[in-house]
Symmetry: none
Subunit: 189 residues, 4 copies
DNA sequence: GATGAATGAGACTTCATTCAT
DNA sequence: CATGAATGAAGTCTCATTCAT
């Protein structure tokens, strides 16, 4: 049943978030999922192979946040502000998952899947840039596909620095938010 | 003897790079270092505690590359081009170490040290921005401390996408390089 | 249905032959038999309990080969030659089954059944010796029941040495065949 | 230390003899040997890999019995009687080891080693036949190398039938002993 | 300081067996 | 009768850590 698989995925996200990937035992996952030890292996060959499912979940969360936060009809400045704050918000609320994905992706053989899992975000960003380009809101020499990756890397890396590595004050976060918004606006114009 | 400690660090970098952090056993490290199993524990309490030493090494490598590649007397455009290509070069040549640090940092208790280990790069970047600011080469509303982090995140995340996750063609790399250089120039001006 | 039982026996012979008894799982058997996991237990309580059925099958194969190869009306020398070559042939063609039975019998609780399963061969051999005795073709002090066991052990052990343990050339096999035939003739006369 | 290795071999023989190969767990062996679980793996990768050491031991036991039982200066009949009774005696006293070796050898990848492990017995038997041949005690058309294998197979298979598979009376054993002695004398003359 | 054989806790994984459908 | 998802007991094996030399 897919019910059990879903339970495993949820329990894995939970346990990975709490304990980290390496400190999570299969026994932790199955206990959290309320299933038998052997059942885990009916669905996944190892805890690492749950990773892509978690990544999918994370990207879905990102996209939900993006879609609900950004109105493509707004002007560029507004959209940039909304975009940055959406990424900040999701990074903050799911920081364990993102930390975990970074750790897991950097080490596993699932790296290649990352590209395709992330593509909804890349695609959305590309569309975003294209529309802005058509409206003449951004530089003309922007390749939307290439810049979408650069832009996502820019915003996420800043968010990660803030929420994963440091524990900055709210003021600090806001200041960095503004600095990044200005940086991004300037970069695109 | 510091000789042995140095051997351990080098062997750990080597083994972590080849096998990844989690798949490296103490026995792998001591074999590579040519020392006895017990000797490791005279210098480090665990393989994870070698991590900060490796991070230090990585940042030293970055700074060497930066210093040898960038002439602060050059004009801004030239310096941006040199900066991006220096980060690309070092990311490519030490990609295993960076992947490893990413994985290791995101999970360990050594996260807090990251900030101080990375500070030479942040400091250099801040100085770089300040000089450019004084010469009027960049926007006036740039806070050099904040933007140094943003800028490093921007360039490194793009380099990582290219060298760690994808295996792009040389043409692709160059195109992305140019896109990033334009993006950065525009962001700073 | 007996259909399913037969399928299980055949699949078990196949799997035991390929993988050996210990390395064969119930899941291998049911997969090969095209039935469900639970169905196996409707017919057999364990994989070992299929063993006697396999032994029966093996003895039937031996007897078929014997009956089709030996004409009791022939003279003794001819019959000995035919007997040895029949056992050689069957050992070669069913070597995996014999190796398996050897391994399985030596360890299981089904050892006692061996005697009764093998009795058709012992009985045939006893009759063979008795007829030869009546015709005065063999020594007088032969007890046909005892010697039948000795004789079967002799021929089978030689065949097993050749086909199970070594991988000898055809020449080697023929030479050993002739040596055994002479040995046997001399033993019986 | 070889001390530990020897302990493991002895404990393995003991446990295999008592429980059979498949029912013996590594934990049984290490408990019997008085060592830690992990220590076993310093010397052997699996319980099966102890098998060749056991086979060596078994052949040594056979050779000891043979050497102490047979006087090559005796006449042929006496030597055959002594040979058969020596093999009967050793098979009886080490029946568990022989049963175990049969089971183990028939299934493992160590089959090829069997030939070389058994060679002392083959060699001795070959010499035995050669001496008898020189004295004119046996048939002239005997190839001592080939017949040594046949002869060993003959005597051992009879002994195994008696001691491993059946549980015959002492009278029965003696009767079979005599039958085999006559059979062998006749075969060689 | 250095060694490396020995330890043993504990995680992984398998797979015979069950039982609700 | 037949099914096959689920179970969980049990065994394997690893590997960080110790400590006598």
């Amino acid at each position: 049943m897919l019910d059990k698989k879903q339970k495993i995925i949820e329990a894995t996200i939970e346990q990975f978030s709490i304990k980290g990937v390496e400190n999570t035992k299969i026994s932790d996952i199955v206990r959290a999922a309320g299933i038998a030890q052997g059942t885990f292996y009916l669905y996944f060959p190892s805890k690492f192979s749950v990773m892509p499912e978690i990544a999918k979940f994370a990207v879905e969360e990102i996209m939900k946040e993006i879609h609900s936060s950004i109105n493509l009809a707004d002007d560029l400045d507004k959209k940039i502000e909304d975009l940055v704050s959406a990424v900040f918000r999701i990074t903050d609320s799911k920081k364990e998952i993102f930390a975990m994905l970074y750790a897991g992706l950097a080490q596993s053989e699932h790296l290649k899947q990352w590209e395709s899992i992330y593509s909804p975000f890349y695609d959305w960003m590309c569309t975003f840039l294209q529309q802005s380009s058509e409206k003449g809101e951004i530089r003309e020499n922007i390749n939307c596909s290439r810049t979408s990756r650069i832009l996502i890397g820019l915003i996420e890396s800043t968010a990660e620095q803030l929420y994963l590595y440091d524990s900055p004050s709210q003021d600090e976060i806001e200041a960095q938010y503004k600095e990044l918004v200005e940086f991004t606006k300037s970069a695109l114009k």
